[in-house]
């Protein structure tokens, strides 16, 4: 496969500039409400501020991939003498914690960079972080051409996680025979 150009969207997070306001959570949850902005609820945000004021821990974390199983072990970071809780830096929507799940259904949440039509100028959490703890940049990268996992693939993966590959393949085979 050859090289292709790819647009990489980057949110830069400067922990020193974070004042702990949670405006990022507020606007993210409002944006993703349906209809748009019809409600707000930080528990639904795809960004979560981990905040331990007395330890001076201020850490905005973005919701990443859903994972079916928790890690085999845990990470605990110490940076500048500050100890971060286990899993602090992890973006996964994971069975071991309640972060990045819809509060009612438990369905996983994932940051979609505020995908919108027409597109937003910048992610809304960045827009509402006027202290610039969050800043946004786009850059182009040359990458090996690869099949980017599309939505169907992600969905299938979740099904594989749930039912196992063999079951899924059997089902698909049955379905194609019927068709």
């Amino acid at each position: 496969m050859g090289k292709v150009k790819k647009k990489v969207k980057v949110i830069k997070i400067d922990l020193d500039k974070c004042n702990g306001c949670r405006a990022c959570e507020v606007i993210c949850s409002a944006f993703h409400a349906s209809p748009k902005y019809s409600s707000s609820n930080p528990a639904r945000a795809r960004i979560r501020l981990i905040r331990e004021p007395l330890q001076d821990v201020y850490l905005p974390v973005y919701a990443g991939e859903y994972t079916a199983a928790e890690c085999m072990g845990r990470d605990k970071y110490v940076i500048d003498g500050k100890e971060y809780d286990e899993c602090s830096f992890c973006r996964a929507s994971c069975p071991s914690r309640d972060a990045f799940k819809e509060p009612d259904s438990g369905l996983p949440l994932k940051c979609d960079m505020c995908e919108d039509d027409p597109p937003q100028e910048e992610p809304l959490c960045v827009k509402w972080c006027i202290n610039d703890a969050l800043t946004y940049e786009e850059r182009e990268e040359e990458v090996e051409e690869e099949a980017v996992p599309d939505e169907m693939e992600t969905g299938l993966k979740a099904l594989v996680d749930k039912y196992g590959l063999q079951n899924l393949m059997d089902s698909v085979a049955r379905m194609s025979q019927k068709a």
Partner: protein, 660 residues
């Protein structure tokens, strides 16, 4: 029925019986009072008769999240805590920022109404629909900040928000506060009421939606506010002292320059002005102190301003601070900033009001020097200056020895001590300690605000109108150019013609009528904020804030679906203000209580002051005794107050023609 901005539910907690109820509220009340302070006042009027003592199980302690808390409106995060105050015996409403109110809304409640008394120390755990009264005996005597940490850990809920009292509240110290991280509800002894109820803390966690009625319109305004804040804050108003030139509460955590406070506010028991205090040496030393202990500037929920700070003084526990408590202990003790940061840590854990407490201690030491209090009262007190303050603080919060008397605040302590101690109570209004200010020429605007403010705290009534006239006409003209905030163009004229010297200066300018209008505007903005849960730092307190009387009606309408215009909003604020007055009138408040300390200004003008008060009362619809009249109550839809007054023999007939 779908409720917007509000949740439509209150929690009713009876601590005597351990009873918990979730009660749907009447949407009509929102139309009449909005929420927050307004609905708190209505509850206190309806349910607590004036005979009820503050430390009675029948006193209510109400935690309200303002109407806009939990919506994306930046800065809407105030919790309004109300009860009858043990210190003033009137209605107390103390407010705190931080994160508590939005969390409460997301848990599904607008207000938590607490009555009765628990037989043992408990805390309340609100987690969405699950509400429990839990044992807190293991938290006895624990610091307020420490308590919050312990509760979060015990519940395994790092996202729970906690409001707690320290030892002072448990011991019913009249200056006890309710602490919540970087914020506190400090004034008027609200923490003592919480302690009296046996309630150590409230922890809350909520994950429900708050709905917006007209999302697009609402967000457009919120985005505008977010755009305006950095523009306005990045362009400080020239000629105004640094802490007041931008937005937010006074930026005490950011700014080093304390020339204005240290040279204009009084040191000790509101006693001495030190004119040339702010030397280069002091400046350097204080700057170094501040930078070495301030770890980070921090905000409240959904607000980009950074009015608070994390303070880590080597060797003592980390805590959070905001505003002026940085200087109150320092100045009361004639000490330095390092001392201020150190003692404030202990005071925060104890949970005491940073305005009143230092003054009570300085007052005690004055009485000692004057021989009114004796060695016996101070047996065991260290001899060094700072040590004395730590010692006194410890005695007060434990109510030990002389501390038991001082714990009732300057006014009551002076009367208990007697022997002329009353003369040293020279800085209280309605029995409550005030900012340590003693000035020269009577300021008619501030005269009215100090005298009549129902909050009994100047920062909760002053704000949108500049505190002092600008030197030149050009400066004034430049200032009014983008002054869209005024409710009426007249206000601009008052400001343009206001001179530092000569005919158009204090005390006869602004004129009586203009003064009343200026005060009315500033007060109205605070009442709106306090009902909405909006931080005064983005609205009623600074000059040219993002929120004002012209965009609030649109914002409130879009959030709630009600249709409110400027006049309707003004009327609601007036209704709330009048209701508060009525509540206090029923508890004995009269004209004679509406006055600043005798020595607040050197130059007083009794005849002018009488005219000011008369005119203010008239504008507010009060009679000459400061009692809301039948007509004004009728116009505000509160005839029920007149009926109650009549039953109690309170005369609220209006002013007769020849009198007015």
């Amino acid at each position: 029925m779908m409720r917007y901005a509000e949740t439509g539910y209150n929690l009713e907690i009876d601590l005597s019986r351990g009873n918990i109820e979730r009660v749907e509220t009447d949407p009509k009340l929102t139309e009449l009072h909005l929420g927050g302070l307004g609905t708190n006042a209505k509850l206190l009027w309806d349910r607590v008769p004036p005979e009820v003592e503050p430390f009675s199980p029948d006193n209510l302690l109400i935690f309200a999240a303002g109407l806009l808390c939990g919506t994306p409106a930046p800065g809407a995060n105030r919790t309004i805590v109300s009860a009858f105050s043990p210190q003033t015996l009137f209605m107390a409403f103390s407010m705190m920022g931080g994160f508590f109110a939005p969390e409460l809304k997301h848990a599904g409640y607008d207000q938590v109404i607490i009555r009765g008394k628990s037989p043992s120390l408990v805390y309340l755990w609100i987690h969405n629909d699950k509400v429990e009264i839990r044992d807190a005996s293991h938290l006895h005597g624990k610091g307020a900040i420490e308590t919050a940490e312990l509760i979060r850990r015990e519940l395994k809920e790092p996202h729970a928000q906690v409001a707690a009292i320290g030892l002072a509240g448990e011991n019913r110290v009249y200056m006890a506060s309710i602490e919540h991280g970087r914020s506190s509800a400090s004034r008027l002894g609200i923490g003592a009421v919480m302690g009296d109820k046996g309630l150590k803390a409230i922890a809350v966690r909520g994950t429900k939606d708050i709905n917006i009625a007209r999302p697009d319109q609402f967000m457009e305004l919120c985005n505008e506010v977010m755009r305006y804040i950095p523009l306005r804050d990045g362009n400080p108003i020239p000629g105004v002292m640094p802490i007041l030139a931008g937005l937010g509460s006074p930026k005490e955590m950011l700014i080093h320059d304390e020339k204005w406070h240290t040279e204009n506010f009084m040191w000790g028991n509101a006693r001495t002005r030190i004119k040339d205090y702010w030397t280069k040496d002091v400046e350097e030393k204080w700057k170094e102190t501040q930078e070495s202990v301030r770890t980070r500037l921090i905000s409240c929920y959904n607000c980009p301003m950074k009015c608070g700070a994390i303070i880590s003084v080597p060797g003592i526990s980390t805590y959070m601070m905001k505003c002026f408590s940085k200087l109150t202990y320092t100045m009361a003790a004639y000490s330095d900033l390092d001392f201020g940061f150190r003692i404030a840590q202990r005071a925060t854990e104890y949970g005491v009001d940073g305005f009143s407490t230092p003054q009570v201690m300085a007052f005690a030491l004055e009485l000692y020097e004057a021989g009114i209090l004796t060695d016996q009262d101070f047996a065991g007190m260290p001899s060094d200056n700072e040590g004395k303050f730590y010692w006194l603080l410890d005695r007060i919060v434990r109510r030990e020895g002389i501390g038991d008397v001082l714990a009732n605040g300057v006014y009551w302590a002076a009367r208990q001590i007697g022997k002329g101690a009353e003369a040293y109570d020279h800085n209280t209004i309605k029995k409550h300690e005030q900012l340590p200010l003693k000035l020269s020429m009577l300021n008619p605007i501030y005269f009215l605000m100090w005298a009549t403010g129902e909050k009994i705290n100047i920062t909760q009534i002053e704000g949108n109108f500049p505190q002092a006239p600008f030197e030149t006409r050009e400066e004034r003209e430049a200032f009014v150019k983008d002054w869209v905030h005024v409710p009426d163009e007249k206000i601009k004229e008052y400001f343009l013609n206001w001179e530092p010297r000569g005919e158009n200066s204090f005390p006869y300018y602004p004129t009586v009528e203009a003064t009343c209008e200026i005060v009315d505007w500033q007060e109205t903005m605070h009442y709106i904020d306090d009902a909405l849960g909006m931080c005064a730092g983005l609205s009623s307190f600074p000059l040219k804030p993002p929120y004002h009387i012209h965009n609030f009606p649109i914002l409130i309408s879009a959030a709630t679906g009600m249709d409110i215009d400027k006049d309707a909003l003004w009327k609601i604020a007036k209704r709330n203000r009048t209701l508060l007055r009525a509540i206090n009138v029923r508890r004995g408040l009269r004209r004679e209580d509406d006055r600043p300390p005798e020595n607040h200004w050197k130059k007083r003008f009794p005849e002018l002051e009488t005219r000011l008060l008369d005119a203010y009362y008239k504008l507010k619809g009060f009679n000459k005794e400061g009692i809301p009249t039948k007509e004004s109550l009728h116009e505000l839809g509160m005839d029920y107050i007149s009926a109650d007054f009549a039953k109690r023999g309170i005369d609220n007939n209006g002013q007769s023609e020849e009198e007015s």
